[in-house]
């Protein structure tokens, strides 16, 4: 990663963290985000490092821990926040909400709330690039829980058999909701599964954005050159509970474990690296202030945006109009 990329990574990681803190705050105060949000705070380096290895016209498919992926891919914050608040200006016009953010303008093909279901879809986007004769690559994010569902195996097998240009990134945060990975997987490595599909399997420190970036960039180059898919397992950790509905409950994890992971916070690690590399603290503080303002503006934009009109209930169901039975 060069200096410019590091600064870019810092900005995107900050955007994710501040955006999610704002969302969490709004949920907790009951001030306008309905339903639940799944925060990826703590996992920003994995999300950003992977997406920075992509070109703007490459594709990315996410999953329910959902806000970081489009932000890392370059989406503007305001339409994302408006979506969380169910506004007509939301990126999905208020139809998707937190778990289904998508921004097709930046190649973010949408998050899915069905664990693992996006994995074969990313393979399909890579297949489409081949048919259309482009060298676009597709990246698929999923959790460690997602690595145990059939679509993981089907998606990897298909991508490997057809040598598709897809990069699979497992955000292994050690838990699926309240269930520890060690209780549901006999093996201790997800990356090792790549061998079964004859693709490279890479395990990487998910807190170190440069390490994730390097692994992803290698995989993306390989994919773009026709070398086929790669499976990357990034070891990371979410600070918050599985989802934010109200209070935080760390019932299934020890506080000590969380504190241990916090000592390797991805934003702190990158800041330290930049400072040692000669970037002035004031540069980083200014960036942080800009991002904070960007997030505040996104919240303001969302709040002053109108709620959808009732007629919107029936919009965007079909590409070619069909009358809906009412």
């Amino acid at each position: 990663m060069n200096r410019q990329q590091e600064l870019d990574a810092m900005r995107r990681m900050l955007r994710i963290r501040r955006f999610e803190e704002a969302a969490m705050d709004i949920v907790r105060k009951g001030q306008g985000i309905a339903g639940s949000v799944h925060l990826c705070i703590g996992q920003e380096a994995t999300v950003v490092g992977s997406c920075l290895a992509l070109r703007a016209d490459d594709f990315m498919v996410g999953y329910h821990r959902s806000h970081g992926h489009p932000i890392a891919k370059g989406a503007r914050l305001a339409p994302l926040m408006a979506e969380l608040m169910g506004r007509s200006t939301g990126i999905c016009r208020g139809k998707g909400g937190s778990m289904h953010l998508a921004d097709f303008r930046v190649g973010s093909l949408g998050e899915t709330a069905i664990v693992g279901a996006g994995i074969p879809q990313a393979a399909g986007a890579a297949y489409a690039a081949r048919i259309r004769g482009t060298d676009q690559v597709a990246l698929s994010f999923f959790g460690d829980g997602g690595a145990n569902i059939g679509s993981f195996h089907e998606g990897l097998n298909l991508a490997a058999a057809w040598r598709l240009g897809v990069v699979f990134v497992c955000e292994n945060n050690l838990y699926a909701m309240s269930t520890a990975l060690s209780d549901t997987m006999a093996a201790d490595s997800i990356a090792a599964r790549a061998a079964a599909y004859r693709m490279p399997g890479v395990s990487v420190d998910g807190q170190d954005v440069a390490a994730v970036y390097e692994a992803a960039a290698t995989a993306v180059d390989r994919a773009r050159d026709g070398g086929g898919p790669t499976l990357i397992e990034a070891r990371t950790y979410r600070y918050r509970d599985h989802a934010e509905y109200g209070g935080m409950d760390l019932g299934h994890r020890a506080i000590e474990e969380l504190e241990q992971w916090r000592t390797r916070d991805p934003l702190d690690l990158l800041r330290a690296r930049l400072l040692t590399g000669g970037v002035g603290a004031e540069v980083l503080d200014e960036m942080a202030a800009e991002v904070a303002e960007e997030v505040r503006e996104a919240v303001r934009f969302a709040r002053r945006s109108p709620l959808p009109e009732p007629a919107a209930l029936f919009e965007d169901l079909w590409a070619t109009p069909v009358e809906v039975s009412r």
């Binding site: 998508a102 994995i119 074969p120 393979a123 399909g124 489409a128 048919i131 059939g150 298909l158």
Partner: protein, 329 residues
Amino acid sequence: MSYREAIRRAMLEEMRRDPNVVVFCEDARFWTMPTHGFVDEFGPDRVPIMPISEEGFTGAAIGAAMTGVRPIVDYTIANLMYVAWDQIVNHAAKNRYLFGGQASVPIVFRAAMKYANATAAQHSDRPYPQLMNVPGLKIVVPATPADALGLLKSAIRDDDPVVYFEPLLLWGSKGEVPDGEHLVPIGRAAVARAGRDVTVVAIGDAVPAALKAAAALADRGIEAEVLDPRTLVPLDRTAILESVARTGRLVVADPAHRTCGAAAEIAAVVAEEGFASLRAPIVRVVAPDVHPPFSPALERLMYPTPARIAAAAEALVTGAPSPKELVGP
């Protein structure tokens, strides 16, 4: 041209017309498949060799469709769609809506229905009623070679996901297909036979059965109108209501199960919007709510036959009590 050949012709013409049309089909090269020979013409990229991976390749088709390709996914046996149910129901049908219109999912899901062939319960389903309950999917069930060709071509060009159900019983049936570019619009019913005394709305292979019934009824002085909706979503309600307005009587013949089925929906539409024109109760000639058994001796009791349809229609017209439908214990 046979129904099977019509399917093949439609795919060939559309693949030649549009390089973005691709086919996902297990054993696509097998000589029994309508895709036989496609790999030679279009290459293994556009007709890739499929692993047995219905969920995986359906998901891949969705990802490809959202990024500019138009896949035809052939499940070869309709029941195998269930393995991909999540992708079809949660993703293909919903992505456009969920993403506020950003996504298009132009896929044709082809599903051959093998019922009435002694393939037993796991190979004999007619799953269209289940999918009629899912907004976002268009659903067609062609009954003639001309409609098989014209509707498949329209389905491939449609920007929405279309589920295309083929009664395998009809694959060998022959019929005239117009020369040149033949397209049948999705959402328009066809009058298979005109008549003034009773409307028989028939679906899939109940259409030829209803035509036989109508011929038998004509010998007895009863003129049955046979209406083939061809498309179940969107349903041509206008055509159904107009026909019932003329005849005053309705029989719905549908080889799928009774409860919450296509026939139930059609009956409800007529009861709600065409009640005033009804001179008799609506009758459904459908499969009972039981799994298709293996033994042909049992299975042939299930589906609408010309005799069952004719008996139901005749009873409506003469005012006789409806013949006893198949009843459970």
